[in-house]
């Protein structure tokens, strides 16, 4: 009887004891352009649940730009176990302007999963740093170079737009633009959605639904036609035919996928990135083996798409201009850039003077 009690107690407390040995580390390469000044793991904790640890990672890092260039964006991979589903996340900070020698903060708040057999541990690894000259440092395992470069290009476009607006039309116009932004962001439909890789199960009858493409005049890629299989509130296997109408070879493109429901509401469902090899004037097919699933009361009535990013073989990128984003239909559904959202939040928090001060920084 006594032995049984001891065994039962051990079974109950073993995961807790294992969780106490939580290992935490920030892994920066020896030649990293940023150095760790301090790290506060705060409430980082591991909780045993079934056969796995749930790692609540709450870390606050202070990093110094030890390079000679200004840091514009940084991405960290947060890993509990790379091969385990749910064991990998990332934290990126765009819209930075960190001078050489300056210290800047990066916060991490994630909940990760790790099999109990491997013990509890979390590792924060540098994935990439983007500088003001668009040069990049890092292993780029998470394709952070491409993502951060696009964010930086969008940030430059939007900052330039707002600065020009302020210079030509005055602070009142800037204020008006911010108010419109706030209103648009509040009204932008944000549908609850699930996305699964591969084919989802659905017993409802399927039909092919064609994309209607929004024309962006200066886009180097023309989306010609495309379809997806649709059944009720689910759409899968999108496929789009594209043509390179630029004079440069294209290696990457991203298509925004807009869905219209039975009430006529449109919302940006997902982006469809694809690595391609399109010579000038050539056509190709872009497809993804994935399914989007909306709440059951939603009935997909229509779909449209637009070219949102194009990556050329020389490493440069195209993004839609502010003029192209002026299209009312596109403006209604497309996500503002991270920089535009940040500037809007600054306006909301600090007012017009705070925003002007921010725009004058760089």
């Amino acid at each position: 009887m006594r032995n049984s009690v001891i065994i039962a107690v051990l079974v109950c407390v073993a995961p807790w004891l294992a969780a106490q040995g939580l290992s935490r580390k920030v892994n920066l390469p020896a030649d990293s352009p940023v150095t760790l000044v301090s790290v506060d793991w705060g409430g980082t904790d591991a909780t045993a649940r079934g056969g796995a640890f749930f790692l609540d990672v709450h870390a606050s890092m202070a990093l110094r730009n030890s390079s000679q260039r200004r840091v514009r964006a940084i991405t960290f991979a947060v890993l509990s176990q790379e091969v385990t589903p749910g064991g990998k996340g990332s934290v990126s900070v765009p819209s930075l302007d960190v001078a050489p020698g300056d210290v800047f903060p990066v916060g991490i708040d994630l909940r990760l999963l790790r099999p109990i057999a491997g013990g509890a541990g979390v590792e924060v690894k540098l994935d990439g740093v983007l500088f003001d000259d668009l040069s990049f440092y890092g292993p780029d395992n998470l394709q952070s170079r491409r993502t951060m470069t696009v964010w930086e290009l969008e940030a430059r476009r939007d900052r330039q737009y707002f600065k020009k607006l302020m210079e030509t039309a005055g602070t009142k116009a800037l204020q008006q633009a911010m108010l419109e932004n706030l209103s648009r962001q509040a009204d932008r439909p944000l549908a609850g959605m699930q996305m699964v890789r591969g084919r989802a199960t659905n017993i409802e009858p399927e039909r092919d639904l064609s994309f209607a493409f929004l024309e962006i005049p200066d886009a180097p890629v023309l989306a010609m036609n495309g379809t997806a299989r649709v059944a009720g509130s689910e759409a899968h296997a999108p496929s789009v035919e594209v043509r390179n109408r630029s004079e440069r070879p294209i290696r990457y493109l991203e298509i925004g996928w807009i869905v219209k429901d039975q009430q006529g509401r449109e919302f940006l469902a997902a982006s469809m990135p694809a690595d391609v090899s399109l010579a000038p004037g050539k056509t190709g097919q872009v497809g993804q083996d994935a399914a989007l699933r909306f709440p059951e009361h939603t009935s997909i009535q229509g779909m449209s798409g637009f070219i949102s990013t194009v990556g050329f073989a020389d490493g440069s990128y195209w993004i839609p201009s502010r003029a192209a984003l002026g299209d009312s239909r596109l403006r209604r559904v497309i996500s503002p850039s991270p920089e535009e959202q940040r500037l809007t939040q600054i306006y909301q928090k600090k007012g017009l003077s705070g925003l002007i001060e921010e725009l004058k920084k760089f």
């Binding site: 079934g50 708040d109 998470l142 699930q194 997902a270 990135p273 994935a290 709440p295 928090k349």
Partner: protein
């Protein structure tokens, strides 16, 4: 029950017969022996039985020719056993005696241990899913629920889920990766059909934008 009659204070005749044939259990044999020391009537009855036994043996030894008593006795014994076995077959089955309090206490303890282990080790989402499933079975309704999306339809494998409250990576209905930010304001969520989702947060104090991503691959 006492084998010595309370009414006459004599030993029962069945016990006397067994005593004489040495078939009485030892402790009862001692008791009957002690009774004989003070009861003449019982001693006499025992003597009568003893005489009957001797006479029976004499009579048995004078069995008719062709009758083997030992063989006959074995057949009678066998028939009795067959009869008893047949009776067992047709008789109503006896219920086993009810279990005592110890097995019940052990089962209660085991149940408490299992409940504690479940509460300590299983995710609350799993408990909630189980609760919903039991509720659905009880009420006979379907399993509709998670943010209006039918989890029974296809929640196997990894699912990236977006909502106005953030992003999650779910497997078999349970959250395996989530994003939680206390001091920050969620401004946007987005998904890529490559199998990732991102949530944008702006820190209320510093105005710094942080983009957190989860990966289904």
């Amino acid at each position: 029950m006492s084998r010595i009659s309370q009414k006459t204070a004599h030993v029962a005749e069945t016990d006397l017969a067994l005593y004489v044939s040495n078939d009485l259990p030892a402790w009862r044999r001692v008791r009957v022996g002690l009774h004989f020391s003070r009861c003449r009537w019982c001693r006499q009855m025992a003597e009568i039985y003893r005489d009957d036994r001797l006479r029976f043996r004499e009579t048995a030894s004078q069995m008719p020719p062709g009758v083997n008593w030992n063989k006959l006795s074995a057949e009678i014994t066998a028939n009795i056993r067959v009869g008893l076995a047949a009776g067992e077959c047709v008789a109503p089955r006896k219920r086993k005696a009810a279990l005592g309090w110890r097995p019940a206490a052990a089962m209660a303890g085991l149940a408490a241990l299992l409940i504690c282990a479940w509460v300590l080790n299983m995710p609350s989402s799993t408990t909630q899913e189980l609760g919903r499933a039991f509720t659905a079975i009880w009420s006979g309704s379907s399993l509709n629920g998670v943010r209006g999306i039918n989890p029974a339809r296809d929640n196997h494998g990894l699912v990236v889920e977006l909502s106005s409250s953030g992003i999650e990576l779910r497997e078999n209905g349970s959250t395996v990766l989530g994003v939680s930010r206390d001091q920050s304001k969620l401004v946007d969520v987005s998904a890529s059909v490559e199998g990732s989702a991102s949530a944008r947060y702006v820190d209320d104090n510093t105005g710094q934008m942080t983009i957190t991503s989860v990966y289904a691959q």
